[in-house]
Every structure is written in structure tokens, then in C-alpha cells.
């Protein structure tokens, strides 16, 4: 599923992939939401990082998520603090808790800021921004 909606900041503030998180971005580009999982103890962790804070292992894989979750918290920004936001406020940023547990900051597609509430069921949509970067956004769950 691909989204038509632009991400909030357009191309002015793109994620900068680094070796420790490159597989996350590679998966999104391929239309999959994969979260880093410790190969030793199985703990999921996000954002990606080299070491498991639970067991200390460096070994890890990238687990495919269902893409389903709910809004854990949200904010609605009314003051544009970035030039790219001048004509886009108010806009909402949500913290989505995936049904597997990890939480991701994101934006909602097709949901007005005033309609957002904690507990709203959502599902992932993939939004390509550049050839390298695809963002995981969310929409109201069907």
C-alpha cells in the first residue's frame, strides 16, 4: 500500500540512513516494515542501535511487522518552527505503538488533527519520498 500524501517536511528534512539502521530503510523501500530484533534474546528495539540493551548482544535480525497498531500519543503543532511548515500548520505527529510492541513516530494520512485520539487503531502505509527514502506513515485501520 502506497500513500499519496506528502510527509510533513517534504524533502527538506529527510532521514539520514547510517550503517546501524540502513536495513530499516531498505525494508521500507521494499514495502516492508521491519523492526530490529535481538538474535540472542528476541527483544525488539526501535530506533535501531548496535547493542541489545537487555542482553548485550550485537547479533540481530530484522523482523517483519504486521503494520497494525494504535495511536499511543500525539501532538498537534500550531507554530511552524521549520520553513517547510509555513503553510502546513496545524499538523499532527503521532506516536504509534505497533501490536508487536515497538513505538514509532509518524504522521497520519487522511485523518484530521482534531479527529486523533489515543487508542485510534491504525495501519501502515508506505510513502516514497526519494529513490532511497520511503517513510512509514499510518492511516485509520480498515
Amino acid at each position: 500500500m502506497t500513500s499519496e500524501a506528502p510527509n510533513i517536511l517534504g524533502e527538506l528534512l529527510l532521514p539520514v540512513p547510517e550503517p546501524d539502521n540502513q536495513p530499516y530503510w531498505d525494508a521500507l523501500r521494499a514495502g516492508e516494515l521491519r523492526i530490529q530484533r535481538c538474535a540472542s534474546c528476541g527483544e525488539l528495539r526501535h530506533p535501531p542501535q548496535p547493542m541489545c540493551p537487555r542482553c548485550g548482544s550485537f547479533e540481530h535480525g530484522w523482523s517483519l511487522m504486521s503494520g497494525r497498531g494504535e495511536v499511543f500519543s500525539y501532538v498537534v503543532a500550531h507554530q511552524p518552527v521549520h520553513p517547510a511548515l509555513r503553510d502546513k500548520t496545524p499538523f499532527a505527529t503521532v506516536l504509534v505503538q505497533l501490536e508487536e510492541g515497538p513505538r514509532l513516530a509518524s504522521n497520519l494520512v487522511g485523518v484530521e488533527p482534531g479527529e486523533i485520539e489515543i487508542g485510534l487503531p491504525v495501519e501502515v502505509v508506505f510513502h516514497p519520498v526519494t529513490e532511497e527514502i520511503t517513510l512509514a506513515l499510518f492511516r485509520r485501520a480498515k
Binding site: 510527509n7 510533513i8 517536511l9 528534512l13 529527510l14 532521514p15 539520514v16 540512513p17 547510517e18 539502521n21 526501535h46 530506533p47 542501535q49 540493551p53 537487555r54 499511543f72 500519543s73 500525539y74 501532538v75 498537534v76 503543532a77 500550531h78 507554530q79 518552527v81 521549520h82 511548515l85 496545524p90 499538523f91 499532527a92 505527529t93 506516536l95 513505538r103 514509532l104 513516530a105 509518524s106 504522521n107 488533527p113 489515543i118 517513510l135
Partner: protein
């Protein structure tokens, strides 16, 4: 006496607070340092230790160069952002106790309104790099966005209301209205005005947010032994601690939950023994969260605690941010609150609490805190 009792804050200094200082950050820092040394009765060349906020621009070398220090024996900085004031006091205290330095100055000078503004992300923005790749592209650009996210969830979990946030702002404004140095000295604030003010980032309204300020501040620390021969009454460091990370931290926990047990154990007292508190109010709700996580009120009871008038200088059991705090005096990121914590020990605040034995200063909702008291 607790272990830390042999170091004291013996000098305090500050500049005027404004929206446009018209001078360099280095000049602001030096003016504050000069005022603090004059207050202590210590000559500049006697300073042998310097400490600073890592995010600030004035290096210890440039300060030492201007002061003409004889021998800068010890210096350092603490990272993160504005929230490190008490951590600097803890480090300076440890350095003096260890004999690494005799007279340590903690300083800052910032053009936080006319220059680099926190609210613009100019200080903390990371251009989508590192872990910011997972937050900034979605609009979490400044500290206020992430903190609002946490506050929203905590409202959901504890039932605290935006009106209760407003009572923090209104109470602090009343304190600022007694303080001629405060930015909002001559501007009262009512709860109705707060409730009608626009949202900056929901759930934060305009008056839930701190000022942005140009100004400088400085503290002079030395041994209590030396302090007793100086001209100003010492504010003895009874406890000083910092906290940076806890694996067990839940999303809506503040650092105070983890720092508090160590702080109270070090001081040998508890929340009920504190006479007056300065609490890092970058955003009004976090005063309520701090009151809960330090143990001044139970979780979920901080809002009603504030509504009851408990944090007001006028009749409150725990007056909070008696100079007006970051919301109404100045946003010097903990520095102005450390200065006020010292004034409360000396008896020189414009909202003075009587017979202060334990003056509490939090400089980051648990990233650091100190307890100051008079020389026993």
C-alpha cells in the same frame, strides 16, 4: 552533617534579562561572573576552576583569558541541553571535595532570544541524523514537540488537565509580579487568559511555554571552610545529583523518578522537609510531573496539589519557582533557578519563604537537582 556539606555556593551573579541584549554571549557570561565574584568577595585571579553548559558558546579558555586566571587547574562541561545546571553543581562540588580546584565558577551567557533560539531547533536540531532520523522527519523538531508528546500521554494516564497546567503558569506569574528582574514583572496573568491562549503545540498553550531570553548568570563555589571567611552567607550544598538514563524507564516517567531516591538518601531528608522549590519549567506541565516523580505529591495528585494553592508563595506549603521561573522570570535553563535557590537560603528573594533550612532546585525534571541549606 551530610558528606556534601563542606562545599558551598558563595557568590551569585546575573545580568539583566531581555529579548535583545545587544552584546555578545561572552560579554554576558563575563558580566555575570564579575557580579558573582564581587558578591563573593573573591578576586578573578583566585578562580582555578570553570564549568559550563556544553551547548553554550563561550569556552573556558576565552573566560580564563578575560579573567586573567593565574592557573586554571580544573574545567569541564556537561552535555545534553539546557538541563544540566545541577549536574554542574554536583561536578564542581566533587572537584572541590577532591582537591582538584579551590574556587569553581559555573557560568553561562546566552542570546537565547535574539540569537540561537531553542524554540526554533537551532540548538538541539540534528538534521535527521542518528536517532533523529526517526523523529525529525515527522515533525518532532524541537524539545517542545517530544515533551508535548509525553505530556499528552501522561494526561491520558493520570487525568491531569490543561487547566491545572495553567495554575502553574498563573502561580509563577504572581511570583514574577513581585520580582523587578522578571520579564513579566508588570504583567499579571489570569487562569482565564491562560485557557484562552492559543496552542503552540497541543497540549501546550502559549502560557505553558517558557520564555526565550538573552542574559547571563554565574555561581561561585568553594569549600565551606573558605566560605566562612567570605562576605556573603554561604548556601551549603547538602545534596547534588544527576541522572541520565534508566533501562527501566517507562514512557511517561521523568528522570526525577530515578534521581529522587538517591537525592533524598544523600541529603538525609525527604520531600516533606523541603521549604521551597525551584523546578525546571520549560513547560508548565512538567512542574506537575516533577512534583509527582520527586514524591512531593502522589502520581495523579500533582494537578490537584497545584490547584489547592500548595505551590504559591502566598500561603502555599511548598512555594515553587519563587522568582517567576522559566515561564515568567527568564529562560536561563536552570541558572536563574539556581540563583533563586541560593537567595532563598540567604533570605534575599522577592518572594522570600521564612526560615529556609532546605532549598530544593531541580534543573531538568530529574536530570539534576541540588538541595541547599544555610551553614548550620
Amino acid at each position: 552533617m551530610a558528606d556534601h556539606d563542606h562545599v558551598a555556593i558563595v557568590g551569585i551573579g546575573e545580568t539583566d534579562y531581555s529579548g535583545e541584549s545587544g552584546r555578545s554571549e561572552l560579554m554576558l557570561a563575563l558580566q555575570a561572573i564579575r557580579a558573582a565574584l564581587d558578591d563573593a568577595g573573591i578576586a578573578p585571579h583566585e578562580v582555578d576552576g570553570l564549568m559550563r553548559w556544553a551547548v553554550d558558546t563561550s569556552s573556558e579558555a576565552s573566560i580564563a583569558d578575560n579573567l586573567g586566571l593565574r592557573d586554571l587547574a580544573w574545567f569541564g562541561e556537561v552535555s545534553q541541553a539546557g538541563n544540566v545546571g545541577a549536574a554542574l553543581v554536583a561536578s564542581a562540588t566533587a572537584a572541590i571535595k577532591a582537591g582538584l580546584a579551590e574556587v569553581v565558577v559555573i557560568y553561562r551567557g546566552v542570546n537565547g532570544r535574539s540569537g540561537r533560539r531553542y524554540g526554533s531547533g537551532a540548538v538541539t536540531g540534528r538534521r535527521g541524523q542518528g536517532s533523529a532520523a526517526f523523529s525529525e522527519p515527522f515533525g518532532l523538531l524541537t524539545p517542545q514537540h517530544g515533551l508535548a508528546m509525553m505530556a499528552q500521554r501522561r494526561m491520558y494516564e493520570t487525568g491531569v488537565t490543561n487547566r491545572q497546567f495553567g495554575m502553574v503558569a498563573v502561580t509563577e506569574r504572581a511570583h514574577a509580579n513581585r520580582n523587578p528582574r522578571a520579564t513579566f514583572f508588570d504583567r499579571p496573568l489570569t487562569i482565564e487568559e491562560h485557557q484562552q491562549s492559543r496552542y503552540v503545540v497541543e497540549p501546550f498553550r502559549l502560557y505553558d511555554c517558557c520564555l526565550e531570553t538573552d542574559g547571563g548568570g554565574a555561581l561561585v563555589l568553594t569549600s565551606l571552610e573558605r566560605a566562612r571567611s567570605l562576605k556573603s552567607a554561604p548556601a551549603v550544598v547538602r545534596a547534588a545529583a544527576q541522572h541520565g538514563y534508566a533501562a527501566a524507564r517507562e514512557y511517561t516517567d521523568t528522570s526525577a523518578r530515578f534521581l529522587a531516591p538517591r537525592l533524598w538518601a544523600q541529603a538525609g531528608i525527604g520531600p516533606g522537609d523541603i521549604d521551597v522549590a525551584q523546578i525546571y519549567d520549560h513547560f508548565a506541565p512538567f512542574v506537575i510531573f516533577a512534583l509527582e516523580d520527586y514524591g512531593f505529591a502522589d502520581r495523579g495528585e500533582g494537578g490537584p496539589f497545584v490547584e489547592s494553592g500548595a505551590i504559591s508563595w502566598e500561603g502555599g506549603i511548598l512555594p515553587v519557582n519563587t522568582s517567576g521561573g522559566h515561564l515568567s522570570e527568564a529562560y536561563m535553563q536552570g541558572m536563574n533557578q539556581l540563583l533563586e535557590g541560593v537567595r532563598q537560603v540567604r533570605g534575599t528573594s522577592t518572594a522570600q519563604v521564612e526560615n529556609v533550612e532546605a532549598s530544593f532546585v531541580d534543573t531538568g525534571i530529574g536530570t539534576g537537582a541540588v538541595i541547599l541549606g544555610p551553614d548550620a
